[in-house]
Amino acid sequence: MSVILFLVFAVIAVVCGINLVIQRHPINSALSLIGVMGSLAVLYLMLGAEFIAAAQVIVYAGAIMVLFLIVIMLLNAGAEGRTRRPSWGAIVGIPLIAVFLGLVSFVIQALLPKSETVAFGQFTGGNARNIGHALFTTYLLPFELTSVLILIAIVGAIVLARKEID
């Protein structure tokens, strides 16, 4: 059951990812990205990380992508025009992609120990209580530093926006 679900949502994620790149209209690309986020959330859920799954949908699909969509709509961005591509791009590009994918899979195989692969339903420490506990004890310093970083980004955005208005 979990394997079937994994395959379904993994395929959806990959297809949406490819669609994101090949679509020419920004709205289509943004919606494909939402598809990727949604299927990733399902994969998190299947791995037992229920809080991360909910946060993924609330933050990425629900807030960040809506802002993307607002910007695209406000700018009224149209479809991209196709540029004339040199024909040798396809001839050289496809073997290069194959080599690149092979390298990546080789590196992953070499770096990750085999015994550590995660099985579905094994991990149970993904609920909100565990995550909150870990954030405020073990990872307190990174957590606080990240919030300061985000605060700096907010202040920076306000400063930049003010400059435009004056």
Binding site: A54, I58, V66, M73, N127
Partner: protein, 396 residues
């Protein structure tokens, strides 16, 4: 297999009741708005317009599904589908009552309980904005586009105070599952004050409740925050180009969002299915309410002001008295008393939604944004901080 069949039956009942309630909620709203504005409201189809929802459904289904030529067809058709699907999903995690024993089958009056139930509802509602935003964009019409943009900006802005207001009762309940949250609100202080989150010590959540209601109005695009479809400036906003069933889908989504926010407010702040009064009295309340209703119906039926009241009001009165008698049967109490209290709270909140629509004028757009960011958000943060402090100091 047993679990599968029980779930199927529960899902069928919930879907049927929810869809019927949505249709009649619209009747109730038109009727109440009518009386608030000193006019009768729908009263032609059936007694007191009671068959009006049915007539509306037939009209919307049989209407021509017209697609304007200038729209982006795929997203134009996808948008109402997204809106209505995402509006209907959260009902799956709403508990309507405690665990009950029906014909020897022990089951919860809830479709499923998630350990992250509250987050699930938040996640689904935060994705729900795509229906409106896409409808506005795909319609290829400036009014629709402005409506869609306003709606997305408004929903993102009000999502923050909403989430912060939800976080405070979660601190008291110490859980994200609706079942546990309602369980935490059982019992009474001094024997008569219910331990609902809005009364619960160490810090009553009355402010969080008000913030939640205000943000809920904005999230569901209701007056006084219905800027996305402000008809005097935007024709009809994001659904200007929609007709027939596609329009009905948006309509249904709006009412369903209203029902869901009323349910969530009931569960988080008003103690879910726990009655307002301690046990022996709480069983008598439904009987008294329905007897009172029946007596009014009979009295006005015997002294009719209009000719049709001679039939409709006595029938309403007799039906109410029969319901009151059903509430006297002790075997049924474990099932119907919690359901009565849950539905009563939800209906009261829905009445408030409609009442406010009949009372308040619309905000201006800059007022809407300023209100969210400079007033509602800081108050919600303050409430969360104070709640956290009180819980940390007193709950040990």
């Amino acid at each position: 297999m047993n679990f599968f069949i029980i779930s199927l039956i529960k899902a069928a009942i919930v879907a049927f009741v929810l869809l019927t309630a949505l249709a009649y909620l619209q009747w109730l709203e038109r009727k109440l708005l009518g009386h608030i504005q000193l006019r009768p409201g729908p009263n032609r189809v059936g007694p007191h317009g009671l068959l009006q929802p049915l007539a509306d459904v037939i009209k919307l289904v049989t209407k021509e599904g017209f697609i304007p030529s200038h729209v982006d067809k795929f997203f134009y058709l996808l948008a109402p589908f997204i809106a209505v699907t995402l509006a209907l999903i959260p009902i799956a995690v709403i508990p309507f009552g405690p665990e009950v024993n029906i014909f020897g089958v022990k089951t919860w009056l809830q479709l499923t309980d998630l350990s992250i139930g509250v987050l699930f509802v938040l996640a689904i509602s935060s994705v729900g904005v795509y229906g409106v935003a896409l409808a506005g964009w795909a319609s290829n019409n400036k009014y629709s586009l402005i409506g869609g943009l306003r709606s997305s900006a408004q929903m993102i802005s009000y999502e923050l105070p909403l989430a912060l207001a939800i976080a405070s009762p979660l601190l008291l309940a110490n859980s994200l599952s609706f079942r546990h949250i309602v369980g935490q609100q059982a019992g009474y202080y001094l024997g008569f004050i219910p331990r609902w989150a809005i009364f619960q010590m160490p810090f009553p959540q009355i402010f969080a409740f008000i913030i939640f209601l205000i943000a809920g109005f904005a999230e569901t695009n209701r007056i006084p925050f219905d800027l996305p479809e402000a008809e005097n400036e935007l024709v009809a906003g994001y659904h200007t180009e929609y007709s027939s069933m596609k329009f009905a889908a948006f309509f249904m989504a709006e009412y369903c969002n209203m029902v869901i926010s009323a349910c969530v407010a009931t569960l988080l702040f008003l103690g879910g299915w726990h009655p307002l009064f301690p046990a022996p009295y709480s069983n008598a309340i439904p009987v008294l309410v329905f007897l009172f209703f029946g007596a009014i119906g009979l009295y006005h039926g015997l002294n009719p002001a209009r000719r049709r009241d001679r039939f409709s009001l006595p029938i309403t009165g007799i039906v109410s008295i029969i319901i009151a008698l059903i509430f006297l049967i002790p075997i049924l109490w474990p099932v119907i008393i919690p359901l009565f209290w849950f539905c009563a709270k939800v209906v009261v909140l829905l009445f408030v939604f409609i009442w406010i629509r009949g009372t308040l004028p619309r905000f201006r757009y800059d007022q809407l944004m300023r209100f969210a960011w400079t007033f509602l958000f800081p108050v919600a943060v303050l409430n969360l901080l104070v709640t956290g402090l009180f819980v940390a100091v007193f709950s040990k």
